[in-house]
Each structure stands twice: as structure tokens, then as C-alpha cells.
């Protein structure tokens, strides 16, 4: 695994990379279809924990705020990033914890 990672071609530079609109749109459309397919099969008993779980998952936005808060940007920018990071982190922590807390309660007998 590590060897494969090392051999991979160098990634493009980090600073504002040109966004490939069509490939992003492609990912968005496919992900939406996967989402619709997977969510449709979710047990109707579990809609409340589903909502807290998807909420925690979409807090993956944390990877964006990590960069904004942690890179060598002007302080005002980093403050915005840090607040965003805090907000996402709150969602991750409370989202996963409360989902598990609720799921523990669903017992068959």
C-alpha cells in the first residue's frame, strides 16, 4: 500500500488548482444517484439516526476548514477557517456520538 502511494505520480500544486467543472459535476451526479439508492433502503425505524449520521458525514467539510485555518494565510482568513473548523468538528463529534447512542437503543426484544 505504502509503496503504491510513493510511486503515484506527483499531485498538482495545492494553491488554487484549476477546477475541472465537468468531472466534479460527474462525481456530483453519480454520488446523488448512489445516495438516493442507498438512502431509499434505510430502515424507516432509523430516520432520526440517519439524519444525525449523514449530518456527521457531511461535516467532512472539516477538510476544507482545516486548510483555511491551518495554512499560512492572513489572520482574518484563518479566524474564519477556525470558526468553520469548530462548527464542523462539533457536528462530527455530536453527530457520531448521538447516532450511536440512539442506535444502541433499538433492540429486537
Amino acid at each position: 500500500m505504502i509503496a503504491v502511494l510513493l510511486l503515484a505520480p506527483p499531485a498538482p500544486p495545492a494553491a488554487p488548482a484549476a477546477v475541472d467543472f465537468w468531472s466534479m459535476l460527474f462525481v456530483f451526479v453519480l454520488a446523488t444517484f448512489i445516495g438516493l439508492g442507498v438512502i431509499r433502503r434505510v430502515s424507516r425505524l432509523l430516520y432520526t439516526p440517519l439524519m444525525s449520521l449523514t449530518n456527521a458525514i457531511s461535516a467532512i467539510a472539516v477538510v476544507g476548514s482545516l486548510v483555511v485555518a491551518g495554512a499560512d494565510y492572513p489572520v482574518t482568513i484563518r479566524v474564519l477557517g477556525a470558526v468553520a473548523l469548530f462548527a464542523s468538528m462539533t457536528n462530527i463529534v455530536s453527530g457520531f456520538l448521538i447516532t450511536d447512542r440512539m442506535l444502541k437503543m433499538f433492540k429486537k426484544q
Binding site: A18, V27, L53, A59, A61, G64, V68, D72, N91, G95
Partner: protein, 468 residues
């Protein structure tokens, strides 16, 4: 070297997130989903954190620590408060997206104006509008659910409300288009801040006219917006992981919104712009009177039944009566009576609210039945016990054309041989509509706090077995 980590980490995290949601298809595998989600999140966060451009680790540690300090208590709220916690988490999601969008814009403006391409600017504007309107909208929803004093619970409407709301959104979008096409001019930055302000305002105004009965739908729609703002953020940051996770969240919110709307026979636009629950006067009808039953009589009715269906509603949540419901369930099951719970999709204040409350009270999920499963069985039901539910059992939904709940699928409580209804007061329900189920010939009312009434019922039933 660490650069090569982000892409494989993103692929792994995406796969784990999809599995997490897949495992939610059964309560038996669902907890595995949480583990998958946590692992996916850790992988993605670590792979990002080790990137060389991240140098201010102190800031990150502080923000993450603050996230834990607020997040842990938020995960320990009583389950009756889960709707407002959920709304609050949508607010945080929207806030994060809005702030990152704002940061990316000003960063681009200061350091790489050439990188603010039309496409990237459109994504930033979409992210900021969606993010900030989700932020204030969800805060308002959370405040209404928490019954914060200075936020009106009842829908607030005024003439021309929809025109004002749509006008504000249109202004934000139009300004957005200007900023996109003239990204680097000096006034663009001011216009950008005006867009932020308009989006914040729109979020508040969007939720003001919405009442409690519509909360399940509104929370689902806000869920969808929060997901979409994460998608827009993914477009801005060129992150396929973010786009995927946001799309999963967005489609989940969309499906739940559709289910909630169907369960109320209403459309999205009708929920958002219809101002449900404003003063709805029922058509004048001959005044029938309630028949009140004593706890002793109700206990006797239940004891003699073979098949009891309990229909919980928001009133059960308000009274925190789920544990008393469980004691009643035990008493009845002990006597060999079949007991089922009929769960309407919009019972409570968010999707699945009743299921979670009953699960908390240790009621096996196999005893919970959905609307379409239970309705064919209702004619065989000896006693239908309504606990704090109102609109979801109102027969007017079947035929009263003028009624705001007309066409809404209901639980056929009225078809049971006997109906017992526990109700806090003699006022109509949230939608402000009279419920003729309560004045039916075979209906007996038990007025009082659900928890107290159920407690007395349990005591009566327990005492009864003691004597025999």
C-alpha cells in the same frame, strides 16, 4: 510525499461513508455504520492535516478541542430534544460552508484574483448563499423547537410575505451574478458582503411562517440544503470527497423531505410558502360533546381487549411519557394482549422521532408498525389508545376538502372498536383544527398530562392483578 495521501484517503473515506449509510438499512447492522463513518472521517482528516501547507497546528488543535467541548454535551441531550439538536447541527454545517466560502473569496481577491474564474466564483456564491441561509434558517427552526421565549412558536404571516421572501432571494442571486462576472472590481467585495447579509436574512424569513406540524418536513429540507452547501464547497475546493459526502447528505434530506411531504399530502412549495397552521376555522358543525372516561373505566377497557394499538404523537414527547407507555405496554403484554404501536411518518417533530423515543423506553422495534402496515389491521383492533397525537388520526383528512390536512394519509384510529384518547387540554391540535375523532360514539377521552394519566392507568392495571 504526503501529497499522495489525500487522493487514496478520499477514495477510502468515500467508500466507508457509502457503507455507513448502507448499513443503516437494518437496526442490526446500523451501529457498524457509525464505526465506518468515524474511520472514514479520521482517515480524511489525518490525510489533510499532514499536508505540508498546514503550519498553524495550534489553531487547529484549539478549534478541534472546542468542537469536542460543545459536541459532547450536544450528543447527550434528552431524546425529546433531538429535533432541535438536529436543526442546530444543520446550522453548524451551513455556517462552516458559508465561512469557508467567504474565506476562499477574500483569499482569492487578495492573493490570486486570476484564480477566481467564473466557475469558481459561481460555486463560491452558491456555497455562501446556501450556507448562510441554512445557518439562520436552521437556527430559527432550532429556536422554535426549543420554544425559545422571544421566538414566536405559531407561524408568523403578513400580506406579501412570499413576494418579500422571493424578492430577497432573487436580489441575493442577482448580486451574486454581478459579483461572478466582475469578481475583481473594488465594489465586488462589498456586494459580496451584501449577499451574505441577504442570505442570512432570507434564512430567518423563510422559517418564520412555519409551524410545529411542518417541522419534520422543514428539518428534512434544511438537511438537504446543508448537504448542498457542502457540495458547493466541494466544487470550490476541488474536492471530490466533499462533493460526494455532500451529495449523500443532500439526497438523504431530499428523500426524507419527499416522504414527509407525501405523508402530509403537501408539496415542497406548499410547506415553504403555504404558511400552514395559521388560524384555520373548521366549518361550522353541530356541536358534539366529548365523553370523558375515568382511569378505572379505561383500565377495564384495556384489560378486556385482545388487540391494542397505541398511537403516539408529539404530546407523548412533550410529556416525556415514553417510559410510562413502556410500563403500560408491559402490563398489557403480561396479560397476553397483543400490543402494537402505530407510527405516522410525521408524528413528532422530525422524521423517525417516535421510533427513537419508544426505542429509548426499551420497547422492541418489532412492536412498531408503519401507517400502511397497521391500517388494514385497525378494524380488528379492540382499543386504539391515542397518546398525544392529533392531526395524524383526524378523520377529516379523508373528506373535508377545505381542511389543511385534507388528503393526508392518517392512522385509521376511528375504525377501532373503541378509541381512548389522552389529551393535555381541550384545545385543538397544532394545526388548529377540530378533531372529530374525539366526539365519535366509540371514543372516550382522558384529559390530562400524558405521563400522569398513563401512570394512573398503569397503577390501576398493576393493582388489578394484585387482587386476583
Amino acid at each position: 510525499m504526503t501529497r499522495h495521501l489525500t487522493e487514496p484517503a478520499a477514495v477510502l473515506a468515500t467508500a466507508l461513508f457509502i457503507f455507513a449509510l448502507h448499513w443503516m438499512n437494518d437496526p442490526k447492522t446500523a451501529r457498524r455504520g457509525v464505526v465506518a463513518g468515524v474511520v472514514g472521517m479520521l482517515v480524511a482528516v489525518v490525510a489533510t492535516w499532514v499536508q505540508p501547507e498546514i503550519v498553524h497546528h495550534g489553531w487547529i488543535v484549539a478549534a478541534i478541542a472546542a468542537g469536542f467541548v460543545v459536541g459532547v454535551p450536544l450528543s447527550l441531550v434528552p431524546l425529546t430534544a433531538v429535533p432541535q439538536r438536529t436543526a442546530l447541527s444543520h446550522a453548524f454545517g451551513g455556517l462552516a460552508a458559508g465561512l469557508v466560502g467567504t474565506a476562499e473569496y477574500f483569499l482569492g481577491l487578495a492573493e490570486h484574483p486570476e484564480a477566481l474564474t467564473t466557475f469558481r466564483m459561481s460555486a463560491i456564491v452558491a456555497e455562501v448563499i446556501l450556507g448562510f441561509l441554512t445557518f439562520t434558517g436552521s437556527l430559527m427552526a432550532a429556536a422554535k423547537l426549543q420554544e425559545v421565549k422571544w421566538i414566536p412558536q405559531r407561524p408568523v404571516t403578513y400580506p406579501g410575505q412570499n413576494v418579500v421572501n422571493i424578492g430577497i432571494l432573487a436580489a441575493a442571486v442577482a448580486l451574486g451574478a454581478l459579483v461572478v462576472t466582475r469578481a475583481a472590481t473594488p465594489w465586488a467585495a462589498h456586494a459580496f458582503l451584501v449577499i451574505v447579509a441577504l442570505a442570512l436574512l432570507f434564512g430567518v424569513l423563510l422559517i418564520i411562517p412555519i409551524g410545529g406540524a411542518d417541522m419534520p418536513t422543514v428539518i428534512s429540507i434544511l438537511n438537504s440544503y446543508a448537504g448542498l452547501s457542502a457540495v458547493a464547497m466541494g466544487f470550490v475546493l476541488n474536492s471530490k470527497l466533499l462533493v460526494t459526502a455532500g451529495a449523500l447528505d443532500g439526497s438523504s434530506g431530499l428523500i426524507l423531505s419527499i416522504i414527509m411531504c407525501r405523508a402530509m399530502n403537501r408539496s415542497f412549495t406548499n410547506v415553504l410558502f403555504g404558511a400552514f397552521g395559521t388560524v384555520q376555522k373548521a366549518a361550522a358543525r353541530e356541536d358534539k360533546v366529548w365523553k370523558q372516561e375515568t382511569v378505572e373505566g379505561a383500565a377495564q377497557l384495556l384489560e378486556q381487549a385482545r388487540f391494542v394499538v397505541i398511537i403516539p404523537g408529539y404530546g407523548m414527547a412533550v410529556a416525556q411519557a415514553q417510559h410510562k407507555v413502556r410500563e403500560l405496554y408491559d402490563q398489557l403484554v403480561k396479560r397476553g394482549i397483543t400490543v402494537k404501536f402505530a407510527i405516522h411518518p410525521v408524528a413528532g417533530r422530525m422524521p423517525g422521532h417516535m421510533n427513537v423515543l419508544l426505542a429509548e423506553a426499551d420497547i422492541p422495534y418489532t412492536a412498531l408498525a408503519e401507517l400502511d402496515e397497521i391500517n388494514p389491521e385497525m378494524p380488528q383492533c379492540d382499543v386504539a389508545l391515542v397518546v398525544g397525537a392529533n392531526d395524524v388520526v383526524n378523520p377529516a383528512a379523508r373528506y373535508a376538502r377545505g381542511s389543511p390536512i385534507y388528503g393526508m394519509p392518517i392512522i385509521d384510529a376511528d375504525k377501532a372498536k373503541t378509541v381512548l384518547a389522552i389529551k393535555r387540554s381541550k384545545n385543538p391540535g397544532f394545526a388548529g383544527i377540530d378533531n372529530e375523532l374525539y366526539v365519535q360514539d366509540n371514543t372516550w377521552m382522558l384529559f390530562g398530562d400524558a405521563k400522569t394519566v398513563l401512570g394512573e392507568l398503569v397503577k390501576q392495571l398493576a393493582g388489578g392483578t394484585g387482587l386476583h
